[in-house]
């Protein structure tokens, strides 16, 4: 049997026994027990499985673990010492969800957007987030939450 791969997820290193072509989503959920990242379509079309690899948003349902070389951040890795990430806080404050099944992917994509573009316009947000589906239709609240998070991150950075 081949030696286990090593994955760094949320700052912790894990030996992973699945085949290198196993999708990251499956390993996160079924092997590491990190179920915050969701299955929605299996074809990279809905964004529910979005994680950060390095600082890029990637569809974990499309990503073989053998190709993951940078650290992975999932929804479980955003909260630090009991403090929510500003994006999580903004989603919470504006209640930018209903059933919330898309929320992990939405939050991760938003974090990636704000890392690239600290002050996005509503049009830029819609453009960047186009690959994330919220079937409950909370899109306008998500746009508002991203803008609120941008403001609070700007304040924190000062």
């Amino acid at each position: 049997m081949a030696p286990p791969l090593e994955l760094e997820v949320n700052g912790q290193k894990y030996p992973v026994h699945s085949d290198p072509d196993t999708r990251l989503l499956t390993v996160l959920r079924d092997e590491l027990g990190l179920t915050g990242t969701k299955y929605g379509c299996g074809e990279g079309q809905c964004g529910a499985c979005t994680v950060l690899i390095g600082s890029s948003p990637r569809r974990s349902c499309q990503m073989p673990i053998g190709e993951v070389v940078q650290p992975v951040t999932t929804i479980e890795g955003l909260e630090k010492n009991g403090h929510l990430h500003p994006v999580q806080q903004a989603f919470l404050d504006l209640e930018a969800f209903q059933c919330a099944y898309c929320t992990s992917g939405m939050i991760i994509s938003s974090v990636a957007l704000l890392a690239q573009k600290p002050n996005p316009s509503p049009t830029e947000i819609a453009q960047f987030m186009q690959g994330n589906i919220c079937r409950c239709g909370t899109y306008p609240r998500i746009v508002d939450a991203i803008q609120q998070a941008a403001k609070s991150m700007e304040k924190q950075a000062r």
Binding site: G42, C46, Q89, Q98, G137, Y139, I142
Partner: protein
């Protein structure tokens, strides 16, 4: 006026599953307190149940056995915490929060001290299901009455202990206080050491909406933090020890029957448990990929049968009226007379495609057997019906099956059927280990069920002054919800014709109200055009119900109706109606690209009135979401199928609304504290499609009579 409302707000819908007798409940009083701890409990009984009739209501339940027709209950424990029990389920519509608000409000306790136990067949009373926008109008008042009775019981308890009259005491902030003596006791103190159980009095007064303090406010969603941190566990996230993943072999096409099945290759895989039971063939294995591998190794032969395709759907529906089921018909006056008196007559046909619910969490279930008892966690809108289906399938008593519904990744009317639960349970029984089934997106798009497609034909007449004279309306297959016109017409013939549907079809958010409003409101616009009247003015002229008038006027005012066009391709439309006790009107602005024909919805204003509002922010979220979901069915969603196969069973081929599709949206809430609350999860979406269709007509002069209106957009 009230007859209009009465006629159309509680219309039976054949695609909802039918109501059945309340189920017997088997918990005994002593077991109840053993299980939930000492304290005070109050039970709501179904109307007309023998227990309420025999006891005359209001009296204590002296028998040891709890009444059999409990619909909700509430328990105040010795530490003062309040737990309310209901068989309803949380699927994103936010009732875990709104129901707790009603309980806290009526019981006079802080919102945070109320916990809702929902959708667990072992702990909650029977409920037929969470659908039809019934939670707010039926379950919230039941829980309120229960809370009110519990408050009375606490007042009586305190009065007895203090040797005074309950009327002289005040219940507030989880305390009973005697304003004269200044003495007070917390609910916790009063509940201590008690095992008091009471049935709900017949007519216990509830706090009127004008005096609500906790209900009526925008309180945040219960457990919201668990959702933004990924900690909430949906059914698909559960991982009990020893869990196997299951996969089901699906037929190649609808109507296909298995002629042979060779399991030998699959059975050679060491990790897999393979099951062949009747037409059910499936495998379970420690990993999803091993289960997939096992199913792929099954050699099955199928006999396929000819199936209609989506390109021939609408003629097919007209040709396949199911005469074995009787049609629904309401009739008054004479259509011939009405048409004879008309100055303008119109005759139009509208078509509505099948669409998918596409809940982002697909159907999922986890099943576990222990000592011949079965527990299934599953995202369903009908936990008790799922339990009954499991009990039937495995020849168990209902008491041997427990169904638990974790707060679910949406449903929209799509999670009524027990399929995933049955599949997981059958595999788990064979494997002797817990099994999880999570449908793939393709399975979800293919083997669930669809919103019914339909054909609607309307013949109408209008007098020279704009008064409607005749209204003949035939709906083939789509459904009877919202089929009655809210406009005053002396001569009506409104009929629903059941059809042998080529696809599996069922409930959907808004049901046929979307199709019926689309047809009716498109047609009303064309009648206004024929009579040379403004579409809003024409509607108001024919509306008797002031609540409907109010929402039309509120939407129009905020939208700036009638609006002036400022650029080519711009158009404005309006649509609305009454359904499930809610009143809605939507104004839309679209822009049409002359060259490509693409349609973009630029702006939408929706006014909604559902009586007294329980949680304004939650309601706004629902109305916004309903309109955005409705945008998909209005513009581009449609199932395509050929040879018994769905040909667009993926998000890359089935377009749903995304960020860039969202117009500028405004929501106007009309809060009527003088009217009992109606549900709001469905009706807000029915005005949008006709408003868009009418705006397209305004922009282009072309009437589009199909849903979706702009499939190539």
């Amino acid at each position: 006026m009230s007859t209009v409302a009465k006629k159309f707000t509680h219309e039976p819908e054949r695609y909802e599953f039918r109501e059945r007798p309340i189920h017997h409940f088997t918990l005994h009083r002593r077991d109840f307190f053993k299980f939930f701890g000492a304290g005070i409990a109050v039970f709501a009984l179904a109307k007309d149940s023998p227990a309420t009739q025999e006891s005359g209501g209001g009296r204590r339940n002296h028998s040891d056995e709890l009444p059999k027709e409990i619909t909700a209950w509430l328990h105040i424990s010795e530490d003062g915490s309040v737990t309310a029990f209901t068989g309803k389920v949380e699927i994103g519509q936010n009732i875990r929060t709104s129901l707790a608000q009603s309980v806290a409000d009526e019981l006079r306790v802080p919102f945070e001290s109320v916990r809702m136990v929902m959708g667990d067949t072992a702990l909650t009373p029977f409920d037929m299901g969470t659908f039809g926008s019934r939670t707010t109008p039926t379950m919230a008042p039941q829980l309120r009455r229960v809370a009110s009775a519990a408050r009375d019981l606490l007042l009586q308890t305190a009065a007895k202990e203090w040797n005074t009259a309950p009327e002289k005491l005040v219940a507030a902030n989880a305390k009973i206080t005697d304003p004269v003596s200044g003495r007070s006791a917390t609910y916790a103190e009063l509940a201590r050491g008690k095992t008091l159980a009471q049935n709900l009095p017949d007519e216990d007064p509830m706090t009127p909406a004008s005096e609500w303090t906790i209900a009526g406010k925008s309180l945040p969603k219960v457990d919201a933090r668990a959702f933004v941190t990924g900690r909430h566990q949906y059914t698909s996230d559960l991982r009990p020890a020893g869990l196997l993943h299951g996969k089901v072999l699906r037929p190649p096409s609808f109507g296909a029957t298995m002629t042979s099945c060779d399991l030998s290759a699959a059975q050679k895989l060491p990790a897999a448990v393979v099951v062949h039971d009747g037409d059910f063939v499936a495998a379970a294995a420690p990993s999803e990929s091993e289960a997939e591998e096992a199913v792929a190794a099954i050699r099955a032969q199928w006999k396929e049968t000819p199936q209609p395709s989506s390109s021939e759907l609408f003629p097919y529906l007209k040709q396949n009226v199911d005469t074995s089921e009787h049609s629904d018909l309401t009739q008054s006056g004479s259509i011939a007379d009405g048409l004879a008196r008309a100055a303008h007559r119109l005759d139009s046909t509208y078509t509505i495609a099948y669409i998918a619910h596409a809940p982002l969490e697909p159907r999922a279930a986890v099943a576990e057997w222990k000592d011949n008892k079965l527990t299934v966690w599953t995202g369903t809108q009908r936990p008790f019906a799922t339990r009954d289906a499991l009990a039937d399938a495995f020849h168990l008593s209902n008491e041997s099956v427990r169904v638990i519904v974790p707060d679910t990744g949406s449903a929209y009317g799509g999670k009524h059927t027990p399929d995933a639960a049955l599949e997981a349970a059958r595999l788990a029984r064979a494997a002797g280990k817990p099994v999880k089934i999570v449908w793939t997106r393709e399975e979800e798009f293919t083997w669930a069920y669809f919103r019914p497609a339909g054909v609607i034909e309307i013949k109408s007449g209008v007098a020279a002054d704009g008064t409607l004279t005749a209204w003949e309306f035939h709906n083939y297959n789509s459904g009877a919800a919202g089929i009655g016109t809210p406009y005053t017409v002396a001569n009506q013939h409104i009929e629903f014709h059941p059809v042998r549907s080529p696809l599996r079809q069922g409930s959907y958010r808004g049901l046929a109200a979307t199709a019926n409003h689309f047809a009716r409101e498109s047609h009303m616009n064309d009648l206004a055009h024929a009579a040379n009247l403004d579409p809003l003015e024409f509607r108001l002229k024919n509306i008797a119900d002031p609540r409907l008038r109010d929402v039309f006027q509120a939407a129009a005012k905020s939208f700036g109706w009638p609006a002036k066009k400022s650029r080519p391709g711009q158009g404005f439309g309006i649509g609305g109606g009454i359904e499930k006790g809610g009143y809605v009107a939507t104004c839309a602005e679209i822009s049409s690209d002359d060259y490509s024909g693409a349609i973009r919805v630029v702006r939408a204003v929706t006014a909604f009135e559902c009586g007294a509002i329980v949680n304004p922010d939650g309601l706004r979220n629902q109305i916004m979401g309903a309109n955005i979901m409705g945008l998909g069915g209005a513009l581009f969603e449609a199932m395509t199928f050929d040879g018994g196969r769905i040909t667009n069973a993926r998000f890359s081929r089935y377009r749903v609304p995304r960020f860039r599709d969202v117009p500028d949206m405004e929501i106007i809430l009309l809060d009527r504290k003088d009217i009992p609350s109606a549900g709001a999860g469905e009706t807000p979406l029915v005005g949008l499609a006709p408003a868009i269709g009418n705006a397209i007509f305004d922009a282009t002069g072309v009437r589009r009579t199909t849903l979706p209106l702009a499939p190539r957009t």
